[in-house]
Amino acid sequence: MDEFFVFNSVLLAKLVTRQTDKIMAILNGAQILVECFKREGVDVVFGYPGGQILATFDALYDVKDFKFILTRHEQGAAHAADGYARATGKVGVCISTSGPGATNLVTGLANAYMDSIPMVAITGQVRTTLIGNDAFQESDITGITRPVTKHNFLVKDVKELARIVREAFYIASSGRPGPVVIDFPSDVQNAKTEFIWPESVSIRSYQPRFEGHPGQIKKAARMIEKALKPILYVGGGVITSEASEDLKNLAEKNQIPVTTTFMGLGAFPGQHPLSLGMLGMHGTAYANHATMESDLIIAVGARFDDRVTGRIDAFAPHAKIIHIDIDPTSIAKNIRVDVPIVGDAKNILHEMISYVRRAPDTKAWLAQIKKWREQYPLFYKQDDKLRPQYVIEKIQELTKGDAIIATEVGQNQMWSCLFYQHNQPRTWISSGGLGTMGFGLPAAIGAQLGRPEKVVFDIAGDGSIQMNIQELATAVFNKLPVKIAILNNGYLGMVRQWQELFYKRRYSHTTLQNPDFVKIAEAYGAKGIRVTRKDEVVPAIKEALATDNVVMIDFVIEPEENVFPMVPAGEALNRIINGMA
């Protein structure tokens, strides 16, 4: 290296972004990371500083190309990055320091891993010479996160950094997406080298399969033509691969009803006549009956998880199964599959539409489903009491079904699945696989950043809202006007429901004494509204929508309202408790 430049950071940014110039830029690791973010098209980073990530925060100080959002807890940063990724389809990015900062990300990483959400997390680390010495704020974060990430890296040499960042974004966003951690020791952040952006990325041991096997697709098409009781069972993979249009075409052309998993909500319009809503433990009775009676299940980007199948040996006894998934480990994991097709859902569905030569005759089948729909409608008691389902229906009505709905975990989440009709992909932001209480508020913040034009509602419980309530500060001070609807029943409602149904109403430690949520909202600079009567619901939601600020509505609901329908854990999918007794 003959020439050695010392830049101020503004000049530096200009120089390195002009790639045609063959000027060699000597940057430190922290600056290289920032340059890589710019080239990856990052537009927001969520994070929290600390001792071992100082150099990186110093590099972030001058950045104008993307936003940095300071959360109030690292877990909030991880969930916000996750919510941003779900709402936009882009990679969510978060940064923490080493040790406790990094371990605070772990729940967020596990959450993203279970739901296949693309994320890149940067963790500070003690200097390379101290690693393994029990240094202050040291933790073996690559070891800790190995089972909850798609991949992770420890950067030992600054020369490898640009390649690692490029690979991390590629791995996070391709194939079955997932979170990737880059552990970034402080001396590597400060070490200098020539910045070379790798123009392409190629990993010989990682080549996700995109196109489905044509022979298998044809075989599946023949089965669809002959089916009498087909059903499309679709999951989050349809949203990830942006296959909603092709799914709709396939369903409409062949008159096949569609049920979605929890993760698939929004992949197919909830108000479409062919939509059966969600299936599984808290699925609609008609979706579950249709699944159990069907003779052909076309599974797309879904993984037959235990909350969907119920008792596995009793699941859909008459059905042949076509399983489309980009991840071969998802296929035949829980259930026998007749036609496995590995590849991208959009690509395969698109092919399949042209392969099906004649639509199956599903008239009788749809008539049967209509009967189930009439026989077992979704319902709740219509009276003067303030019931949570009513609140959600009114949110739907007043947002014209166009809001992004984030939720916490438990009853609030299941009512939001059932009583809000999710019509578009990327508008349902909820923790599926891991079931993380405290996810909703920070995820709503991330979603609001990614989709500033949208109304974002976090439908919460009084228990889970308190798990990351500090993020009210993040929302208020960054002017992210999310609306929070607390369905406050004074209980950890879902656990209480199980105690009621399966533990003889012994409500062991599920009763909550709560703070005054209105005052909490106000203390953070948000608007707080309390609603105790049914007739106050609509005005309160209208007021929230008209307020250009964070609004938290405390809906004091019927305390022992349950989520129905329900299939008890380990029972067959058609053993439904409908709550009609």
């Binding site: 190995r146 010989r204 041991s205 071969p328 480990t329």
Partner: protein, 157 residues
Amino acid sequence: MKHTISILVENRFGVLARVAGLFSARGYNIDSLAVSETQDPEVSRMTIVVNAEDERILEQIKKQLNKLIDVITVTDFTKKEYIERELVFLKIGFDKKNLLKLKKLIVKRKVQVLEKKIDYLIVELVDDQKKIQDFLAEIKDFKISELVRTGRIAIAK
């Protein structure tokens, strides 16, 4: 049933922990493990012997091994034609009475004598698992003060 699984991986730190983690997370014990570089120094081969309590679970582990970013290929030798070898070092004690018997066994089994001391031999035997087991059974009356044995390596025919 015992499976011999051969995994080609990128020769990088952390890969072994990732591979081992897929077994340990399910409470699966690895019977033996051998790792070394291949003809390409950027690629290592791991040969793992594992007892599958449930074939479906092992099938899932193999798929998940394939899914690891640093894993290039996974081959299960169980239903294939392959050659396997293990290596064992032994310190075998002897005295005047049983020396002749020991010498006979050593010749019969093609055991290499590496060191001869006044009252013990250091020997090596390279063979498949069964033949090594057989030899160990034959010398069980001798005093074995140390036994060091590698994991199995295997190659497809």
